[in-house]
Symmetry: C2
């Protein structure tokens, strides 16, 4: 149940742990897109050999959270604007369908879990931790995909949500407030009512909103210190 971040010298982290830790740090915007992820550096931080770190980085590169170039090492991915639009187009294609299936299958336990996610998200926002709120918001979408019981598409959604986190870090318009509170809540209502058409429509419009909230100008930030972000 522990967050299993770095600096836990007691347990010998596996490559999965490391991938999870890096993924969380990227999701919560503690590591910026474009940051170099040196193998020795990570090996030292997590107290393992480069072998394990390499496995973790390869794993993350497959879901395009990091970009590995031969003999050049790994960096946190930095999606172009074109890629950003592609990702949201893909989400607009997949997730409404998933929401429909989820509405047909959701039970009381699922609904309770989703409501809990929303509560946690609000708590994170109140605690001025927008990074964590964003991460939980992503989990919310993943959870709906899981409820739909279509592991294949759910896997795709997971990678799209992950990449969305990078995209938001790069292209989000800060002027526009987080309107997700209402969208997510309404979606859960539709799922609870088993209203498939409504769930599909709400998901679609929610994603279109997100997509239109991207900034078409230039990217916002870069780089950042790695060890600080990972060792809390």
């Amino acid at each position: 149940m522990a967050h299993s971040s770095a600096s836990m010298s007691s347990k010998p982290s596996t490559s999965h742990d490391i991938a999870q830790g890096l993924s969380l740090a990227i999701h919560e915007h503690r590591i910026a897109p474009g940051t170099k992820l040196g193998e020795d550096e990570l090996a030292e931080i997590y107290g393992v050999s480069r072998t394990v770190v390499r496995a973790a980085l390869q794993s993350l590169s497959h879901i395009q959270l990091v970009e590995i170039r031969r003999n050049k090492g790994a960096r946190v991915a930095s999606p172009s604007l074109a890629e950003a639009h592609e990702v949201f187009e893909a989400r607009e294609l997949l997730e409404p369908r998933i929401a429909r299936s989820a509405a047909a299958r959701a039970n009381a336990t699922d609904i309770a879990l989703l409501e809990r996610h929303i509560r946690d998200e609000h708590a994170a926002l109140d605690a001025s931790d927008p990074g964590r709120a964003l991460y939980l918001s992503g989990l919310f979408h993943n959870e709906i995909a899981r409820i739909a019981d279509q592991a294949t598409i759910a896997g795709f959604v997971e990678t799209l949500v992950a990449r969305s986190s990078l995209i938001i870090a790069l292209y989000w318009r800060h002027e526009r407030a987080l309107c997700e509170k209402h969208a997510h809540h309404a979606l859960v209502r539709a799922l609870a009512d088993k209203d498939e058409a409504q769930a599909e429509a709400l998901m679609k419009s929610h994603l279109v909103d997100l997509h239109s909230a991207l900034d078409l100008r230039e990217r916002n930030w870069r780089a950042g210190s790695l060890k600080d972000a990972l060792t809390q």
Copy 2:
């Protein structure tokens, strides 16, 4: 340009080469679902160390062509019937949309390439090489996704096509002949005519045909010798 299969002792294969070689062998049904892929075995075959083989296997596990279980090694994936239906449902969702985009963007070069694919496929069938024909048929779908210029969805399609090859190995009804000749040819015509609606409809019905040609009973085969398949 070489096929870069195994037994080419001249070039020091990279992990990408090995993943490609294994992938091709699986696509062409020279390696059956469920086959054990021992690290030492592959390392010897390709003349590299286990390090490189492990990287290749991990790579293939991410697209679910092989299944890696901790301390148990890697096997060629063996999708369940439920997974099989999931894969085709996902394809029915993604590929018609992709076909529509491809119709809007296809140029003369693209059409020529697709027609060449179809010719190669026929040639393979005439040469009684159904494995290669199946592989080329998969390439055909990948190529359409590439033409649509949506790298993200194209990547998804690629993994779905790959898994479809496993599914066909396990659940294909042999009684039903390869009806793909007409379907693929008609699809290319629609793309050449830039008839988006027709392309979308044809792709959808083509996939539904494939899906309905799956055998709901039990799996067909298993195991098989590895070195023979890889060393030609």
